[in-house]
Subunit: 350 residues, 3 copies
């Protein structure tokens, strides 16, 4: 059920809220969202990727959200809009609002007396809140979370169960931190001295802006001296490593399993593909896209897409080709030698 207690909306009502142009019957009612493939007649589906155009022909959906190019690809009642995926996101929120919070701290939560926790905050079982923690209005702190001394969390944020935030780290407003996230663990700072590693104290913080979402089991290390910084609107997927003193520019989105080494600075509106890596002490410009499985080893000063994944093959073919990789410099040398050979005696043109 939606937030206002309704279970169905007509296309006319939806377009009234979110804009777009209706084609077909505006009075058709839908009760939820679905994919083209699995929609039933009481659902509204969407087409955001031409890959799924064939499904538009066969869907059982009662209505669809499409872009201008697909306006005439269906006879279903439809909303035509410039950005069907974003439009769909808004309609989906209409039908699936975040569950209401249940204000108050569970009796088993351990909250230091010095912590500032507004009444409308929900704190789950077994949560540990340290000294001088400040939690903003309307936050939900899931079961088993641990907030170290001096942590501050902006209003409207949600920490799912079992998130850990080390002391003095700052989280902005409307953050979503998924389970297993660790914010503010020590950066990997070690100095070799006489055959032993000395630990370098990590005394910076993690400072996270507003509207940041961080996926399950992602780790963000605190700065060594200065802070690790994640700007507004950054979206991090699961199992990402953000090392000490990294700086991620606003609205950059990073897919799962990425590792970003220490002190690298990533621009705004970048998109970083899954399982890629960024070496330390680099600067990546705004609007850079990095493909999956790519290691960036030098700074990038121009927007664009950068790639470095090895193309896969059936194993036997890979084996033949990869074996030659070890001789590639030599092969190039041999080609140079061939080129240097005197050209064969000229003959008259045929």
């Amino acid at each position: 059920m939606t937030r206002d207690g309704r279970t169905a909306y007509s296309l006319r009502e939806i377009a009234g809220r979110f804009g777009g142009e209706i084609a077909g019957d505006p009075e058709i009612q839908v009760q939820g969202v679905a994919t083209l493939e699995s929609a039933t007649p009481d659902r509204i589906a969407f087409l955001a990727n031409a890959r799924y155009l064939p499904q538009l022909k066969t869907t059982r959906a009662g209505a669809v959200i499409v872009g201008e190019p697909a306006r005439n690809s269906t006879r279903l009642p439809r909303i035509v809009c410039p950005n069907p995926y974003a439009y769909f996101a808004r309609v989906s929120v209409l039908f699936h609002p975040a569950p209401p919070l249940r204000p108050g701290a569970h009796a088993s939560a351990v909250i230091d007396g010095s912590a500032v926790v507004p009444e409308d905050v929900e704190i789950g079982p077994g949560v540990a809140v340290g000294r001088d923690v400040r939690i903003g209005a309307g936050c939900i702190i899931g079961a088993g979370c641990s907030l170290g001394d001096g942590v501050a969390i902006g209003s409207g944020s949600r920490l799912h169960a079992n998130v850990t935030i080390y002391r003095d780290c700052l989280i902005g407003e409307r953050a979503i931190l998924h389970s297993g996230v660790v914010i503010g663990s020590d950066g990997f700072g070690i100095a070799m001295e006489e055959g032993r590693w000395l630990k370098v104290p990590q005394i910076g913080r993690v400072v996270i802006g507003n509207d940041v979402e961080i996926g399950a089991n992602t780790t963000v290390d605190r700065g060594a001296l200065d802070d690790t910084v994640i700007e507004d609107g950054v979206k991090l997927d699961n199992l990402i490593q953000v090392a000490h003193n990294v700086h991620i520019g606003a609205h950059t989105a990073i897919a799962a399993c990425v590792g970003i080494a220490g002190s690298s600075r990533i621009g705004r509106y970048c998109r970083i593909g899954g399982a890629s890596g960024i070496s330390g002490h680099l600067t990546i410009a705004d609007r850079v896209e990095i493909s999956a499985f790519t290691l960036i080893t030098k700074s990038i000063d121009r927007a664009g897409t950068y790639t470095g994944a090895y193309p896969f093959e059936p194993h036997a073919a890979w084996r033949r080709n990869a074996a030659q990789l070890r001789h590639l410099a030599e092969l190039a040398q041999r080609v140079r030698r061939l080129e240097k050979r005197r050209k064969p005696p000229k003959r008259s043109k045929p």
Copy 2:
């Protein structure tokens, strides 16, 4: 000590339970399992990999489990069987049964009154169980686990400490979920609109079949609209990312550090090597093997082994060869030009 209170079994007794043919003294008693390398005379070891054949000559084990090809490679009392590793697994379970559960919920566990928890379930300290959760008979839920509203877990399952399951996700029977596992976190669904990312509600679930084991700190995201599905008998190692709407076929085994992007469909009986990746929206056939460190970027419709790792070298050699990679298309072009040069004037054969 074994489940039936015994501390030793003879080869005759073991073969009576699990089959196989005894060669040598069937009355020899063993008190446990061990590797060939570290076995003492009261242990039974096994040979499942020809790599360890030399150790068969030197082992101090009292008895061994071998396949037909190694039947005569030792004079030790032995059990000869078609699948020594599986046989060994069964013998190891005989000596090391799962520890008995201690029925009942710890006083510090927080269990919603609407949850269904049979009496023979063990629930550890600090566990949080949400509304309408259903836990099957004989489950063990380790300390600090969090089960969201509406979660269901099949009978005989074991959640180690600090597992998180988001609301409405379904886990089958005899599941083993290791510590730090997160099931049902939001998929990475974001839509760009006017310079900001909109969150796309993730309203699907995670649905996991029977006999699934999931390794430590692995994450499985809930579906965006439809469900993320893991079929029966799937085995996932540690630190794996399974994105929204992925479908993993029955009995597929995936090694650690793998990332599977959204909506990809992996067949049955696949084996996926460590730190490999599968791009989104792909279909992988049954019985495909993917080598470690390989990124799969296209659907695979035939069983077989596929590989795409860069072969490592001493750094200086790598540097020389990798530098040429950036000129490979040009090199191929130059070779084409060389081939097009008129052949030198024919001479009579020597």
Copy 3:
């Protein structure tokens, strides 16, 4: 404030503790450490990497720690020493000692009566301590940690919040385990039998030496039969996977996102770059360095640096070159054919 209650030290006092040679005013007082870039005049900064030499000219620091080569690169009061980074680490510890522990177990911790917990140990809220656990003097166990039956932790160790240690694992002295670390989860041992995977019981332990630090969300699996071993002084970054029966030699440092497959043996003083991988059953010699994003597929018996990352390029260039990779063996063949062509008739030298 420092451990002895002081807020400032002169260079003379610092050099009195840690050695080094003072150049410039030895009475200058500093109140903390900082980077060259962000230091204020009450701070001491350091230069450990020639990359930051330009910042030495512009820093506002009151004093600096430099190596011999940079002795005359600044007129600031300075300490000249052989290893500025290690020296800085010591000075940083002087100003930022570990926070004092608060002895005693929180009322919400659940500690089995058979556990040995000295009085000076700090145990946080919601910790679960199993049977026969032994915790050494001066340990801090953070909120939500779970220590399985039979676990032993050496004196002076620190477990941050939400660490899980499975039963019977041994942790040495002065360990630092960051949040989300899982020690002793089952190794990935499965045997295929008649279309189903049998679980192979994992009955080894994890045995960790002294002075080991393990980063957030890193997982270390218990041995299948023998133990998984991490020797003294090993430093592991975040999100690393250490599989069953791996052996990591003393003082080896491993960067984030690395995966080490089963039974591999890594030498002492190795340095392993981020997101690299080591296949199973290999032996890596002492003092081997492995570059980031490199998969090691064969044993390495000599110290040195080994690399295997694909060099990244702008996407269009990568596409052209990577396409040729699939034809590399054929290209080499074509070059061989070109070389075999009879050489053109010799001419007199020009």
